[in-house]
């Protein structure tokens, strides 16, 4: 039973007893440890890929919780002092009528991080078990996750610019809250989790199934 990505006549470097450089594609025999073209360390597959994926994933999920509970911005004005969380910031933007910007912040700070947690977990589980999505779809999902993850950092930069700019001591001042640190950590951990995933595992699992 051949999967959609299994085409007769195609051989992987691993099946041929070779090691391919994950960075530049140069093929080496099994004894090689360093790529002779780009000097990257050679691994047939990234070592302990799934373990690292899950470890960074868990760290990302844990730091995402305080990032949403604690304040992201602390605003002091003549009349009031207020603290706003990530969601609070989005609600504020909707009150001002900036629906487009509210949407961008909501997608970058809530939808993308949550989506990434689910997508990475799904990919990691799917290479160990059978999956309903074929490997082309999962390969595509991996690239979307890898591409989009860094964009969550938007909110951290918003806090940086607002805090630097709004420092008018008698009228108004804005300062970063502790959630900014947690949120940045969560984004970094999730990026590391995605980077630890070896996309070649998606195709290996299919080949194993096709050979059954």
């Amino acid at each position: 039973m051949a999967g959609a990505g299994h085409i007769a006549g195609l051989t992987t470097a691993r099946e041929a007893g070779l090691i391919a450089c994950h960075r530049c594609g140069q093929v080496h025999d099994q004894q090689a440890t360093e790529c002779r073209r780009c000097h990257a360390t050679l691994h047939s597959r990234k070592p302990d890929s799934l373990q690292k994926v899950w470890a960074w994933w868990l760290a990302g999920v844990i730091t995402f919780i305080p990032a949403n509970i604690y304040p992201m911005l602390i605003t002091n004005t003549l009349v009031e002092n207020s603290e706003s969380t990530i969601i609070g910031g989005v609600v504020e933007l909707i009150h001002y009528g900036s629906y487009g910007i509210a949407f961008i912040v909501f997608v970058a700070s809530i939808i993308i991080p949550l989506g990434k947690f689910f997508a990475i977990a799904y990919l990691a589980i799917s290479v160990q078990r059978r999956s309903n999505l074929n490997q082309h779809q999962r390969n595509h999902l991996f690239h979307v996750v890898e591409f989009i993850g860094r964009w969550s950092m938007i909110d951290v930069f918003v806090v940086a610019i607002l805090s630097a700019l709004v420092q008018l001591d008698t009228v108004a001042s804005i300062n970063p809250g502790i959630a900014a640190v947690n949120f940045a950590l969560s984004v970094v951990f999730t990026m590391l989790s995605a980077q630890s995933f070896d996309p070649r595992l998606i195709w290996d699992a299919d080949r194993a199934a096709a050979n059954d």
Partner: protein, 225 residues
Amino acid sequence: METRQQTPYIGITVAIGGQLMLPLENLVACPQCDTLHAQTDVPDGAKAHCMRCGAAMVETRSTAITNVLSLALTSFVLMIAAVSFPFLDLSIGGQTNGTSVLGAVMAFSDTFSLPLAFAVAGFIVFLPLLRLGAIIAAVLPLVTHRTPGRFHRHAFGLAETLRPWSMAEIFIVGVSVALVKVAGLATISFGPAFWAFTLLVILTFFQDTLICRYSVWRALDTSRA
């Protein structure tokens, strides 16, 4: 089969019954799915995809490397300008306050968030600068027709590793969001650094689309020359 038919492949059958038909030097593996392909030259302007997973493997443009160098040099100068000049000014009821790019970094200089100040400085200024410097160092021998060495290959490897971590373009989107937040309450004026940074982001985008990693690696490879 879900392979893309509109573009030429660099792949043909390279093994029959587990027996390799070609010497190692003529093989290249897809970095995404490990499938072996025969290394052949692709006509200028064409794109070659992996036969199994469809990942783009080769995109050739004869002028690309010279353009990459000039874009990287320009971006490098723009980044220096972006950190040296005033970035933004804000005024509310007669009171004004300005910030530079590094001022935005220093917003996190309170004790608890100091590590974040270093991280943000890296993401928006130092890692992009280091990456541009590495790209310049790597492609310089290719443009001046000198023999690239180990140093140049390490430099390009570094540029590739730094790619996800240089976030200048994300910073500029963050700035736009912040400006919308305060636009109703205050008057904003843009300094030269703001325009330098915006231009830098556009140039970096073009540079990253121009660069064909596979072609650069092949050009930097002197082992088979």
